[in-house]
């Protein structure tokens, strides 16, 4: 089994084409498509409501104010939305592996990872992306962001998206290792995602280290907010290094896990 390690121009062209077709396909069911987007945007406001009430009741913790919570959710939901809308296929990996449908991806001459990621589109994640973008605009207005801070926000959205993508690849690659992988990957994914939606100021000491370096949940929301707020170049360098580390690690883990796949997982006897 040979897994392509490099991404060529033709792979990118194919990915863009697949994404375009997926969007057109989803948009066919117009009502459902729009309801998913707006429903998810409303759904996300729940976290803002909770944490703003938390700040009002508890007060400012470690310099974190209500505006920072808006920014935190902006980063988390925007990178979630970007990655899991165009790369929704990664979330379907457990199902593809357990049903044996993964065979057809292996037979494709395209880059395997891109082929899987762009095999499906998540309309509800577009709602996350829209919500995240609005939150970041509001955050910028609330903190009277300077030009440097605006550029930092844009740059950090790219970096956090890379980190988020890497973690999604790692988590869903474990589909090749477990029997009931759908349940397991969902559990691990929630374990990674949830702390990133919590009030960033309340993380301190060992817990902050754990959720920065071991399970990098804080890299997709809390740390970017601290970088924008404090204009911390040290943390900016750290997050860039960690993004590269997680990205290369994810590709390595994915390639290793794919080798565990056994064709004919599902005995259909040619049916």
């Amino acid at each position: 089994m040979v897994v392509k390690n490099f991404i060529y121009m033709q792979d990118i062209k194919f990915a863009l084409y697949a994404i375009k077709k997926n969007i057109q396909n989803s948009a066919e069911l117009k009502t459902s498509f729009l309801m998913n987007i707006f429903g998810m945007a409303i759904n996300n406001t729940a976290f803002i409501i909770i944490w703003i009430f938390f700040v009002k009741t508890v007060g400012v913790i470690n310099g974190w104010m209500a505006s920072d919570i808006v920014g935190l959710l902006g980063f988390s939901t925007l990178c979630f939305g970007i990655i899991l809308s165009v790369g929704d296929g990664l979330r379907r990996l457990p199902d593809l592996v357990s049903s044996g449908s993964f065979d057809r991806f292996l037979l494709s001459p395209k880059n395997l990872l891109i082929r899987i990621a762009t095999s499906s589109f998540g309309p509800s994640a577009v709602g996350d992306a829209v919500f995240g973008a609005i939150c970041l605009i509001i955050y910028g207005i609330l903190i009277n962001a300077t030009l440097i801070q605006v550029l930092l926000i844009v740059f950090l959205v790219i970096i956090t998206s890379i980190i988020f993508l890497s973690l999604v690849i790692i988590i869903f690659s474990t589909s090749f290792l477990f029997i009931d992988s759908d349940q397991v990957t969902t559990g691990i994914f929630n374990f990674f995602l949830t702390p990133g939606l919590f009030h960033g100021g309340a993380f301190h000491g060992l817990m902050k280290l754990f959720f920065t370096f071991i399970v990098p949940s804080l890299l997709v929301g809390t740390i970017p907010i601290e970088i924008v707020r404090d204009l911390s170049m040290g943390k900016l360098l750290l997050i860039c290094v960690l993004a590269l580390f997680w990205f290369f690690l994810s590709i390595k883990i994915f390639n290793k896990c794919v080798k565990k796949y056994e064709s004919s997982n599902f005995m259909t006897f040619g049916n």
Binding site: I42, I50, F54, S124, D180, N190, P195, A202, M207
Partner: protein, 266 residues
């Protein structure tokens, strides 16, 4: 008699199934770890820097209130909406309608059975761990607490099942119920006292939590507070009121659903 046999069969089968696949227990444990344990650690820090008291509520009380919420969530009753939607989309609902059993009660017991094993294990282990870590609130020793908790829990289960079944039945009219499901689910999450315990709610939000069906389905989280000793009957009344009202809505909705479905057989 038939109904009791069916119920016990469903519960036994699903508990055996869950015991056979320990991965699902691991998933539920991870879910509790990622939410509750992290939250408890955060709140312990927040309480520490606020002198141990927020809104006249101690950390121990807030922690147990949140534990009750997350423990209840392990039952995963909300998924009944998704299973009903899947039944409708796959056409399985036709098969189930043609059987000599009540579809709604079958789905109720199925949903309870799916989460029961994880709920029992995690609640016992988590409860012991939390007791060893922070102890019990003083209210736990009172007769009112011991007598009322089972009833408010059962009321919460019934009300949750009714709310999410209503959402699920919307699948007969809507292409995709997910957006409605998310909104209802988040209303329960906010008003039930998940990430922010009920005692820390601002007054307006507390009133909404008290008088809405979403908050009423999670009244179990109120039982740890001192105020429970004086207002438990009021909260019981509100919960029963919503069970009756939404139960009637469900009844008439299901009547409409039965008219909408035509079982065509093979």
């Amino acid at each position: 008699m038939k109904a009791i046999r069916l119920t016990s069969k469903i519960l036994k089968t699903l508990i055996k199934d869950r015991m056979h696949y320990p991965e699902r227990l691991i998933v539920d444990t991870l879910s509790i770890l990622s939410r509750f344990v992290v939250l408890i650690l955060l709140y312990s820090y927040v309480y520490k820097i606020n002198g141990g008291l927020i809104n006249n509520t101690t950390f121990v009380v807030a922690a147990w209130s949140m534990f009750f919420y997350f423990s209840f969530m392990i039952l995963n009753l909300r998924r009944i909406a998704i299973y009903i939607m899947q039944d409708v989309k796959s056409g399985n609902v036709e098969v189930l309608f043609s059987k000599p059993i009540s579809y709604i009660f079958y789905r109720f017991w199925w949903q309870i059975g799916l989460g029961l094993y994880s709920f029992i294990i995690i609640t016992i282990v988590g409860g012991i761990a939390l007791y060893l870590a922070i102890g019990f609130p003083s209210t736990f020793g009172t007769n009112i607490f011991l007598f009322t908790v089972p009833f408010i829990f059962i009321g919460g289960v019934i009300l949750s099942l009714i709310i999410y079944t209503i959402v699920g039945l919307l699948a007969f009219w809507l292409e995709d119920i997910n957006p409605v499901y998310w909104i209802v689910d988040k209303a329960v999450m906010i008003l039930g006292g998940s990430y922010l315990p009920v005692a820390l709610f601002p007054i307006i939000m507390y009133k909404i939590a008290l008088f809405s069906p979403f908050g009423a389905s999670q009244f179990l989280t109120h039982s740890v507070y001192d105020s429970w000793q004086g207002n438990w009957y009021e909260l019981f009344g509100i919960q029963i009121f919503w069970i009756i009202i939404l139960g009637l809505v469900l009844y008439f909705m299901f009547k409409g659903v039965k008219k909408k479905v035509s079982v065509n057989g093979g």
